[in-house]
């Protein structure tokens, strides 16, 4: 039981971080960013390059991942999404654009970083072992703590800073925010950059545990969408709860159902379908959007 709880907390915290960036972008711009997973992968590769290849301290490499993704996100918003949103009222235009960016980034990742799985040296050695009832490597514990601290910092930013208030205003009502003097274009770009930066941050954190490879982007996006759907699209607290719920479902399923083969995700998908049929707006989303 201890192991299941520990695995659930660990998986839940990393999943919540992955989902946060996605739901932020959706809340601000009503954009389903299919390229979120690819941004996560780029974040992992940037940390890999700085920390794993060039020997830069891990924290600095993590900062480089955040900065790189923030710049990339800002550029994507300014030169791709903003013009499309202004020029087309159809939601599928941004969806197609996001899918196109995902394919493009996949190709860029292949060209720049190659096809191989990459990994970095462990940031902390050793394994916590409580009588074989609870086993958790110290680096996982550290990453879990860092992920939780990052989530807390993000919530603090959104609640208590001028930027956060502006972003929340944008998410609640774009037109009203504009009438209240919020520079919508500027804060849309900042919000997208922040969402991309979160993807880069979690990619950089997790490369120390999971490594990174070209093919991780698509599945990561799918998991992030699942969490967002569970929690409620566009709701920050919903993404966090969605991540935690998915993490615990996975940890419990893998521990309890292993003798039946790989049915954990089958049951998760079935549960999600039933749940969405009953509550399509997710746990914390509003029925009207």
């Amino acid at each position: 039981m201890e192991q299941i709880l520990a695995n659930g907390v660990y998986l839940g915290s990393q999943y919540a971080m992955i989902a946060l960036g996605l739901t932020l972008i959706f809340a601000l711009m009503n954009v389903l960013n299919f390229a979120h997973g690819q941004m996560y992968v780029i974040g992992g590769f940037v940390t890999y390059t700085f920390y794993g290849q060039w020997g830069v301290p891990f924290v600095l490499a993590l900062v480089m991942s955040c900065v790189t993704l923030a710049i990339l996100g800002a550029l994507i918003e300014r030169y791709l999404f903003a013009p499309v949103i202004k020029g087309s009222a159809r939601e599928e235009s941004t969806m197609l654009l996001a899918a196109g960016i995902a394919f493009f980034l996949d190709a860029v990742i292949l060209l720049v970083f190659g096809e191989k799985q990459r990994g970095v040296p462990k940031i902390v050695d050793g394994v916590f072992n409580y009588d074989f009832r609870l086993i958790m490597p110290y680096d996982r514990i550290l990453i879990c703590v860092l992920a939780i601290l990052s989530i807390v910092a993000f919530i603090g930013l959104m609640q208590y800073t001028k930027t956060g208030r502006a972003l929340r205003a944008l998410a609640q009502d774009r037109t009203a925010a504009q009438l209240m003097g919020v520079n919508v274009d500027r804060y849309s770009m900042i919000g997208f950059a922040l969402g991309a930066m979160l993807a880069g941050l979690v990619g950089g954190l997790l490369v120390t545990i999971t490594g990174v490879n070209l093919g991780m982007g698509g599945p990561t996006s799918i998991k992030a969408f699942m969490m967002v759907m569970i929690g409620g699209a566009g709701v920050i607290s919903g993404a966090i709860w969605g991540g935690i719920i998915l993490g615990f479902m996975e940890a419990i399923g893998l521990a309890v159902l292993y003798q039946y083969g790989d049915i954990t995700y089958l049951l998760i998908f079935v549960s999600l379908m039933i749940f969405l049929a009953i509550r399509p707006q997710g746990l914390m989303g509003k029925p009207w959007g």
Binding site: N7, L11, G119, K122, I135, G211, N213, L214, Y258
Partner: protein, 395 residues
């Protein structure tokens, strides 16, 4: 005026360059060899190492004057198609090869893709060299597929037997990704282990192919405390994470797989925790690699920046195709002639030291010679490099 002159100069330069390139390329007739496999997505490493091996060898041949088959010397052109590990795309890829008049194709990389292209290949006179293990692809009445590597049901028993005799292994656990290739390899491995008298203590734990953290997945397997943990059909992306998680969970037994791996990936992903990991390799360990193999590795590295150890097994298919065509030039557009030649074909293996031969095998497993005789080299990873554990042959 100046702008116009510049434009004319540029145009002339482009025209001259194109002409030179065309002349250089047109020195020899071109022999097209196809590749249909996965070069994008999570399993991209499998197909890309295939494609790059072929491109490296083709560039090498072309640079040294071409490849002589009968009275004609050809430049080799590799025509590639990314099937994205999707059987429908693999069919489209094989159809493209047929439209281009290609009769020899390497790939696909996985079971379902290889099975899907069979009707297209047989209808269009294409011999293809898949990296897929279902026996039905190579047993009569199937005729056009040639297994491009050693199958897990051939390497697995050899590895288990070696470990039983030399390491005292008595119990074994299997873990596989939840998709067709690894699951079928797991089932084959379980069958082989039981036949050898090993006790299988766990064989029903599987994982999603996109799993990134294997600690929760491996925890129940570790409780069974096997002497040997087999990572059935594990991809190079997942192997280091599985090894790392198993060791961190306190597993001290042996870990093996029947797929090819890359030492650099293991070093980065698992570090010293990967020491002792057993996998199937090719012929690039120092004691086995011939000067030609070493040159291949050098050229590959120069061309693509980094070598992939998986190419140790994937260097062979193109060589087999070309050497067989050399043995019977009439086979260049006649796969029946190619098939007839396969039965008696033999040539020196240029990638291995000693007197190893290129020849077709598979009579025991498939009832006909539909497999390339690549050496069954079993490697053990140690401190960033592979060492040869033992070498065997498949018939």
């Amino acid at each position: 005026m100046q702008r116009r002159t510049l434009f004319k100069a540029a145009l002339t330069a482009v025209a001259l360059t194109s002409f030179q390139a065309t002349m250089a390329f047109a020195e020899n007739p071109v022999l097209k060899i196809g590749f249909v496999g996965v070069t994008s997505g999570p399993a991209a490493a499998w197909g890309i190492s295939n494609q790059r091996s072929m491109e490296t060898r083709a560039a090498w041949i072309n640079e040294t004057g071409g490849y002589t088959i009968g009275d004609t010397t050809y430049d080799i052109e590799i025509v590639s198609f990314d099937d994205q590990k999707d059987p429908k795309r693999a069919i489209a890829g094989m159809e493209k090869m047929a439209q281009e008049g290609i009769h020899y194709v390497v790939g696909p990389n996985v079971d379902d893709g290889a099975a899907a292209v069979r009707p297209v290949a047989e209808a269009n006179g294409i011999m293809y060299f898949p990296y897929a293990f279902p026996k039905s692809l190579y047993q009569a009445p199937a005729s056009n597929a040639v297994l491009g590597m050693v199958a897990n049901y051939q390497s697995g028993p050899a590895i288990y037997k070696h470990l039983m005799e030399n390491e005292g292994v008595k119990t074994v656990a299997f873990i596989a990704a939840n998709e067709s290739d690894p699951l079928s390899q797991r089932d084959g491995g379980v069958e082989a282990a039981k036949a050898l008298g090993l006790e299988v203590v766990s064989d029903n734990v599987t994982y999603q192919v996109d799993t990134t953290d294997f600690t929760p997945v491996l925890t129940p397997v570790m409780r069974s405390r096997p002497d040997l943990l087999v990572l059935s059909g594990v991809s190079p992306a997942n192997a280091p994470q599985l090894i790392r998680s198993a060791r961190e969970l306190g597993f001290e037994g042996l870990i093996s797989t029947e797929t090819a791996q890359d030492a650099g990936v293991l070093a980065e992903g698992a570090g010293d925790l990967a020491n002792g990991f057993i996998s199937v390799g090719g012929a690039s360990t120092p004691e086995l690699a011939s000067p030609m193999m070493n040159e291949f590795v050098d050229r590959y590295t120069k061309m693509f920046g980094e070598y992939n150890d998986e190419s140790n097994t994937k260097v062979y298919a193109l060589e087999y195709i070309l050497e067989t065509l050399k043995a019977d030039p009439s086979a260049i557009d006649n796969v029946e002639a190619f098939q007839a030649t396969m039965d008696s074909f033999e040539a020196p293996n240029p990638y291995m030291n000693g007197d190893a031969k290129l020849r077709y095998v598979g009579s025991t497993s498939f009832g006909q010679k539909r497999q390339v005789a690549v050496p069954l080299v079993v490697n053990v990873y140690q401190d960033g490099a592979f060492e040869t554990l033992f070498v065997a042959e498949v018939d």
